[in-house]
């Protein structure tokens, strides 16, 4: 029995490859995401291990994550000497670190960019944890005086600087522009993952980053021989002032690495979602392929039954075929996954996250998970067809006519409808109700609706097919009629094939509606609420020095400049957004609806609370709340309650000095600028640009450019998603090819007859093409219907978060329909070619 299965497998290699293709892609995404995540983790582990001392002493930071502003809390220089004398300590070194110092290349462009930081540090010869040498020199020497700098090898290479040359840097420290002589080139074990390192003499670093004070951002204490990290930590901790903590190097490295991994975790999520999509689409394909194969082989299977095979043996033989496909597909998928991981690594390199220092990690877990996922999905998908195979009655071997009774549509309709309703319910709950981890609800809901729709697609699709069929008959006569009839001949098969395409189209249309709504919302917000003529923002995502803001205020023709800072505070243990604003220029930030009080009246001790939060926390003007940032907690009086506006929608608004008093850094996220009335717009724009010419880290944009930039970001995200969903569409194309090819085989006689009575090859190809287009358009119609519904739901649920305009991009959706038609045409090409090569006489001669 198994031998027979094996033979039939080999006889259908191409077809099986096509059904395996979906498994290959799905598994590839699973494997790729694991390989990449592991590689990412390993490379940050090794970087972090040389970025900590045996014990790290630092201001208590709370758990401010890496995206918010670093604390400006510092450690006094005197502490270094004290800690060096702690029993068990070999030495202690004070470190100065600034996360906004970038090297400007010879071409005036910034090295690095979004994501990996530009790090400015002081040089110490203190060892990292476990005696590791954190940095070694490739060439030159370490900096010993002001005006000298050492940069890491990758940065030096990219920037094109040689030892002895003057290096331009930009910094978020007190001095936005720094020029220094390159005296050495440093190497860090394991690479820097794209971050750039600029190393200064301690005195110089102090001047640049610590306002010239004898203070440090953290202190490394090295253990003497025989002292463990934990012992040393305890000894050190005893000596520390309030709000300063000591952590072991191991713990600090681990925490830092996992922070970064978490921040980059969206990549894994993203890849796994696509893996899921590919596998779901793929399972449709497998169900279809096996159903058709079972139907075509029913006589053979019946013969086995007649010869004494049990139902289970017959079903098992089909499952055996499936497991072979699943296994082969998974193995190929695993290999492809490694290639995908490599691709992502290259892609990340383009964006500055350079992981080339770490070889790819293929862990046993990756292999096991990939193979299991591929195998299980295949077997689950093949289960129903296999059961059906077992039900082929032995007598079918002796009969010529239709053998497999089509089971009724009723059960299917009921299950499909329930599944759809259930999915819609989950989706609605995830979007609109206050449920824990709503992403899972939404994901599960979408899956439920999609699967449910796939089940009832043979019924829901009827009017679509009928409409297209009507058009076909009018346009193509008999050929059109037959194409329509063929598409309707096996509604399940057509439905399942169309559903595979439906999934991709659903997600694409959903994202299209969402993206269009987001863009329309931005346009509306910019148009209605944007008062400033210019926005100054960072080109690298890190905030910039307040010096810059001040310089811009001095540009002729500039009227008002309003600085603007994002930050995070903790209130009653909850992370909350806070925006630092300048009360004296509040008008520049646009109209803000106020419930109570005025923002212009904010002082160093008052705070404005968002309306929603004020309601839930029962706050009114005059109440006090404690805000905690880093280790600092201060009481504030509620001075105002603000409603939502485009810019000022944070939970809390503080004046800049108030935020600084909590330890907020003197760096701005944005600056909004208005022009003096009467100043020439073009001239002011040019002057602003000129003022920032040597600061590539900061850019100035007018209203239109700002809106364009925001839109461009959305577009970028959409294109990435489209590109990945394109893969789902490719799988769907293979599905259509597969179904058509199998149908052609099934209809050999019919095709021969048609050819005998005068159907030309071209007409035959056209007939298949039209059938293929029906399937594709059905998938597109269902997908667009669902996608628009999902997109509208998504927009509605985010209306309060700024996506308050619903825009359905009909032209774009129209384009999707046209593309679906094209997909149909492409998919029909090969089956059409095969059909046209069929021997006419095969139909005419009876065997």
């Amino acid at each position: 029995m198994l031998r027979a299965s094996w033979k039939s497998l080999m006889a259908r290699k191409l077809r099986l490859f096509m059904s395996a293709f979906a498994i290959i892609l799905g598994v590839a995404f699973v494997a790729g995401s694991f390989v990449f995540t592991d590689t990412l983790g390993r490379s940050f582990d090794s970087i972090m291990n040389s970025s900590v001392g045996d014990v790290v002493v630092r201001p208590v930071a709370g758990d401010v994550d890496i995206e918010s502003q670093p604390s400006s809390a510092t450690l006094p220089g005197s502490l270094v000497k004290e800690l060096a004398d702690v029993p068990g300590a070999a030495r202690a070194d004070g470190n100065i670190t600034n996360f906004g110092t970038f090297v400007v290349g010879k071409d005036g462009k910034l090295i690095g960019g979004f994501g990996p930081p530009g790090i400015g540090i002081n040089f110490t010869d203190g060892p990292a944890a476990k005696g590791l040498e954190p940095l070694t020199l490739n060439a030159g020497r370490w900096p010993t005086a002001g005006g000298e700098v050492v940069v890491d090898e990758k940065t030096a290479e990219k920037a094109g600087y040689l030892i002895g040359e003057k290096v331009n840097l930009v910094s978020s420290g007190a001095e936005p522009r720094i020029q220094a002589k390159l005296v050495g080139i440093a190497h860090m074990d394991g690479g820097t993952a794209g971050a750039s390192l600029s190393i200064f003499d301690t005195g110089e670093a102090r001047r640049l980053f610590m306002d010239g004070n004898d203070t440090y951002t953290d202190i490394w204490v090295s253990a003497a021989d025989g002292t463990s990290q934990a012992e040393l930590r305890d000894a050190v901790a005893a000596k520390l002032p309030k709000d300063v903590e000591a952590v072991t190097g191991d713990a600090a490295a681990k925490a830092a690495a996992s922070d970064i991994q978490e921040a980059l975790g969206f990549i894994t999520t993203f890849l796994l979602i696509f893996a899921g999509v590919a596998l779901v689409v793929g399972s449709f394909l497998i169900v279809n392929t096996f159903s058709i194969l079972v139907a075509q082989r029913s006589r053979e299977l019946a013969l086995f039954r007649a010869l004494g095979s049990t139902r289970r043996q017959v079903a098992r033989s089909v499952l055996f075929e499936a497991s072979v496909i699943g296994l082969i597909g998974s193995i190929i998928g695993l290999g492809l996954g490694v290639v995908i991981a490599m691709g992502i690594r290259v892609l990340f390199g383009q964006f500055g996250l350079d992981l080339s220092g770490q070889s790819l990690i293929i862990s046993p877990r990756t292999i096991v998970v990939s193979l299991v996922v591929g195998l299980v999905v295949t077997l689950v998908a093949a289960y129903l067809p296999a059961r059906k195979a077992g039900k082929v009655p032995p007598v079918a071997a002796m009969r010529d006519d239709a053998i497999l009774a089509e089971s009724g549509m009723r059960g299917r309709t009921i299950v499909g409808t329930i599944l759809t309703a259930l999915g819609a319910g989950l989706l609605a709950a995830g979007l609109f109700a206050d449920v824990p981890s709503p992403t899972y609800w939404v994901g599960g809901g979408i899956l439920g609706v999609v699967l449910g729709m796939a089940l009832i697609s043979p019924i829901v699709g009827r009017p679509v097919i009928a409409a297209i069929g009507w058009l076909y008959r009018k346009t193509f006569g008999a050929v059109g009629l037959m194409a329509q009839q063929n598409a309707q001949r096996n509604p399940r098969r057509t439905g399942a094939t169309a559903s595979a395409l439906m999934i991709g189209v659903t997600l694409v249309s959903m994202m299209a509606v969402f993206g269009a709504s987001a863009k329309a919302s931005i346009d509306k917000a910019v148009e209605k609420e944007f008062v400033a003529d210019y926005v100054v923002s960072s080109a690298v995502g890190t905030p910039f020095s307040t010096e810059v803001t001040e310089e811009l205020a001095a540009v002729p023709g500039v009227d008002e400049v309003a600085a603007f800072r994002w930050d995070q505070v903790k209130v009653k243990g909850e992370d909350r957004q806070v925006t630092g604003i300048d009360p004296s220029h509040i008008g520049v930030l646009g109209p803000t609806p106020m419930v109570e009080g005025r923002l212009a009246d904010l002082t160093t001790t008052t705070v404005s609370v968002a309306e929603e939060l004020a309601t839930t926390d029962k706050l009114s003007v005059g109440s006090t709340i404690d805000l905690t940032r880093g280790g600092t907690t201060k009481p504030f009086t509620v001075g105002a309650i603000h409603g939502d506006s485009a810019l000022l929608s944070s939970d809390y608004l503080l004046s800049l000095p108030a935020l600084e008093s909590l330890g907020g850094a003197k760096t701005d996220s944005y600056a909004f600028i208005t022009r003096e009335s009467g100043a020439a717009a073009a001239q002011v724009g040019r002057d602003l640009d000129k003022a920032l010419a040597d600061l590539p880290v900061v850019t100035v944009k007018d209203q239109g450019e700002f809106a364009d930039e925001q839109r461009a970001q959305i577009n970028q995200m959409l294109y990435l998603i489209y590109a990945l969903l394109g893969l789902a569409v490719i799988i769907a194309i293979l599905g259509i090819i597969n179904t058509l090819a199998l149908s052609v085989i099934e209809r050999t006689k019919e095709i021969g007859l048609l050819r005998a009575v005068g159907l030309s090859r071209r007409q035959l190809k056209r007939m298949l093409r039209l059938e293929s287009i029906v399937i594709a358009l059905l998938g597109a119609a269902l997908g667009i219907g669902l996608g628009v519904a999902f997109g509208v739901a998504l927009q509605r649920s985010l209306a309060d978060d700024g996506i308050d305009v619903l825009a359905v991009p009909w032209p774009q959706l129209g384009l999707f329909v046209a593309l679906a038609g094209l997909v149909g045409i492409i998919a029909a090409w090969w089956p059409g070619w095969r059909a046209s090569k069929l021997d006419i006489l095969r139909a005419v001669t009876t065997e």
Binding site: G477, A478, L754, L759, L841, T846
Partner: protein, 265 residues
């Protein structure tokens, strides 16, 4: 009207026109050791407006001859002429057109497209060609085929005999120069077979249709005007105005000869 046409076609004063002519036809399947020569030089004229049967033992090359004559299969050597058209040199595309416009087919089984109803099946060659049926002619054919109210039914809902009659109507409706029928009654019981044969006979008599029918059933062959006997890829003899008895007789004598030939050879 149609009877006029029939009259015109079988104008007795003029010599009978030839609808199709096969000359020195050789057909070899495969090559080398496994080559089978199914037709070993067959020459045959099919007169217009005549009902011709091709008979012979199984494997004698009847189907092959029909396929070659109808442009369904390529020939190894020789010529096939349909009216003035030489089929053997035509390209696939033109051959398809010839089949569509000048030839009608009825096969032993699987004659109809299962997704189309009887009427759509009948009109299929015309719709493929993008031609409108001649309404009067169509009504006439439909009346003759005697399907009545079953025109809207799909093949699956028709009996075998009805299906074959639909196939005949389809072959007829485009007014082809010639209809080829390969064992059209082979799968039918005698009553249904008689219905189909009667219909074919009437289309010859009433419409002047030319029909070539392959069969091994003497009863079926006796409905025709002329029976051509094939044996081992060659035409061995023929009968005019056949009766079942004469056909059987001929077959028997051929069998005997055949055996003799084999024994001597």
């Amino acid at each position: 009207m149609t009877t006029d046409l029939a009259q015109e076609r079988r104008d007795t004063t003029a010599p009978p026109k030839t609808a199709a002519r096969v000359t020195d036809l050789v057909k070899t399947y495969g090559s080398g050791d496994t080559a089978v020569t199914a037709l070993k030089g067959v020459s045959l004229d099919i007169a217009a407006g005549e009902f011709t049967a091709i008979m012979g033992p199984s494997g004698s090359g009847k189907s092959t001859l029909m396929h070659c004559a109808a442009g369904l299969d390529s020939v190894t050597r020789g010529s096939v002429q349909l009216g003035a058209i030489e089929l053997t040199t035509l390209k696939e595309k033109d051959l398809t057109k010839v089949r569509r416009d000048h030839i009608g087919f009825v096969f032993q089984s699987f004659n109809l497209i299962p997704t189309l109803n009887a009427e759509e099946n009948i009109l299929l060659p015309l719709s493929i060609a993008g031609r409108k049926p001649d309404r009067a002619w169509y009504d006439h054919v439909i009346a003759t085929v005697g399907l009545g109210d079953r025109l809207g039914h799909r093949p699956g809902e028709l009996s075998g005999g009805q299906q074959q009659r639909v196939a005949c109507a389809r072959a007829l409706v485009s007014r082809p120069e010639i209809i080829f029928a390969d064992e059209p009654t082979g799968n039918l019981d005698s009553t249904s077979g008689a219905e189909v044969l009667g219909f074919l006979r009437r289309s010859v008599d009433d419409f002047g249709q030319t029909i070539v029918m392959v069969t091994h059933d003497p009863g079926a062959a006796s409905w025709t005007d002329r029976v051509v006997f094939l044996a081992d890829g060659r035409i061995v003899t023929e009968l005019r105005e056949p009766t079942p008895e004469r056909i059987l007789e001929t077959m028997k004598s051929l069998d005997a000869k055949h055996v003799d030939a084999k024994v001597q050879g």
